[in-house]
Amino acid sequence: MSGGGADEGGQAWSRHYRRPYTITGGRTRPADDDLELETLVQTVTGIDEQLAGLGREQRSIAALCREVMSVAEISGRLDLLLGVTRVLVGDMALQGVVVLYRPQATVADAALPPVELLERVLHGLKNIS
């Protein structure tokens, strides 16, 4: 929950006292309802001067997403709640700081893998863990 990649001491305190709802002002619904876990995010190049106006979590997201990254991955790496990450990324997309790549859009014309294949992959993953 302690965001912004702040790796200083006092993380325990911050985890204890900082609350996630303040990051978004209590919002849980992203500006873009289609924002899914697998949506890919990339920071627009040359946008650095605008970063100063962003919140610290958003600046961390912007720094992280210089490489394309999914929403779920951002959430995991920055230790942000998934719901909060979605709201933040949605705001950034609206602002034009990041662009979103929706997997549905990119693979819309391609044939989806068959369900049986996905189920087998799932079983295989379970066996690994």
Binding site: E8, G10, Q11, Y17, T22, G26
Partner: protein, 645 residues
Amino acid sequence: MRRSRSTEAGATSATQRTAAGGRSGIGRLFPRLPILGDLRLGRRLGWVIPVLIVLVAAIIGYNARAIAQQRGSALVVYTASRQRAFVERYTTDVLLVVDGFKADPEESGEDVREPVDVLLDGGSVRAPQGGGRRVEIPPARDWRVRRKLEQDRRLIDQLIRTGDGLLDGGRADPEYDANVTRLRVLSAQLSSVSNDAVREITQQTEASLSRLVQIEIVLGLLSALAALAMGLLLRRAGAEQAAQFRSLVNNSSDLITVLAPDGTIAYQSPSVQRVLGRRAADLVGTALGDLVHPDDRHQVIASLTKLVEAPGATDNFGCRLQHEDGSWRHVESICTNLTDDPRVSGLVLNVRDVTEQAALRKSIGDLLHNLARRSQGLVDRQLELIDELERNEADPNRLDELFRMDHLATRMRRNVENLIVLSGVDQRRRWSESVPLRDVVEAAVAEVEDYSRVQVAGIHDLTLAGQAASDVAHLLAELVENATSFSSPTTMVEVSGGPTGNGYVLEIEDHGIGMSDAELAEANKRLAEPLAADVAVSRMMGFHVVGRLAARHGIRVQLRHCWFGGVAALVLLPAVLLGSAGERPAMAPLVPAGVMVSPEPLLVAKTTASGWQPRARLPLRRHAAPAPNRGGDTDTAAEAGEPVE
């Protein structure tokens, strides 16, 4: 005097009655006499004054009577001696007429009778001073005088008869020679008897005068004794009053101490024996500061130093004083500067032992602390649970509900931790590692009911000492809560920060209607001097908690008017609490790194991203009224969690 001694036996009871406030005896008899009334003499003094008055009246009366008697007896003596002259004149007149010379024995005869008649029966005679005035003479009373006077009268009758015989017969009368001889003999007899009468009268008068003088001497002696008794009783009454006052001072459970302006004890009431187990005489000349607990010494000396500057002023302070056996007694003292009063010329301290109250307060504080600590544990577990649920929640609606629960639990934790602060038990959780200042500010915002209206900007990349982090967060939360409560729900509350020469200042600004100068002064006073926990404090818990928390860490908090309306709360964090974050040096000019907590972060971010700016501080007005459209319940807060368009 014997009676006065017997009344002294009841002196103590009379004193008690007098001390009870009743105006007995003289005080009641002479309510207008200030001295008697003030001294409130005992009842035993009551008899002295009437006796003295009677004695003086008697002396005056006897004096008047003696003067009158003396004057009367002089008149009697004069009248009696005049009678002798009249007898001789009559005798001469008779002989002159018989010998053919011209005289008036008839008139002389009448004159001879008058004095003796008046002396015997009373009446008026011509005054010796003449002028035709007549003086009344009372009839003689003494029997010896009356006998002589009656003999006088018989002899006068014989004399006048003999004189008449001579006048009728003339020289031709054969008994002429015998009558003349008889007349002369009678005249001589009269002279002798008159002399006797005068002597008797004089003797009587002198005897009565000497009696009067004796009585007056006795009366005078008695008056002198009565006056002496009154003087003694007055002195005794004064002494008793002084003793009474002394016993009040000595037996009072309070200490009365007079401090010389240099802080040494000039006078100490003996009750110090009971309170501190020390002898008053041992303390005189020593410094009061030596008795004060080292932790309290600074504050006591500061209070006294301030007081010495202001003659006539009064100050209160509490501290601990050391008992002879080494234990500490909690005392409260009221100190008055009487350096202007030449009879005192020092600071008068009235010190009361409140150790028991302090112990009671401590046990209540412990109770409060234990209850709060248990609640704190429960709330912490609740928050951990909520953390877990939030982590796994993908549904925005359910996450929203979890956020509301999270917010309520966070506010509950703040209240519980405030209670721990108020309990006065200094047993904080220790967070040894330092915490980013931004995290502290955000934690504070999370604890506020209306957190969505709070906008944090321009907090520098510093860290705060771990042991102060929670306290600073609660302190900020109280100030932010105050700001949101007293401003319109449509306005924002801004939290910003900036380095100063001796630390870092956080500023919390609202856009409310402001506070009046008096309210501002009152709030600042409470911030600067937090009171002991009591009922009054619980109603104004916010500022009190802020004051306490600030005092713990040497933080200074002040409220000021904003030039655009509203109030700015300034929190000066001392440099000793601060550290630099990461590789950056502390207090270096930084690119303001705004942390936005706002429903529309991207739209308002630029307005506050410029970092710390010194602000004009102009006195503006505000009266504290809750902002409109606020339910004040928790639901409002939950709704505030929704985006505000």
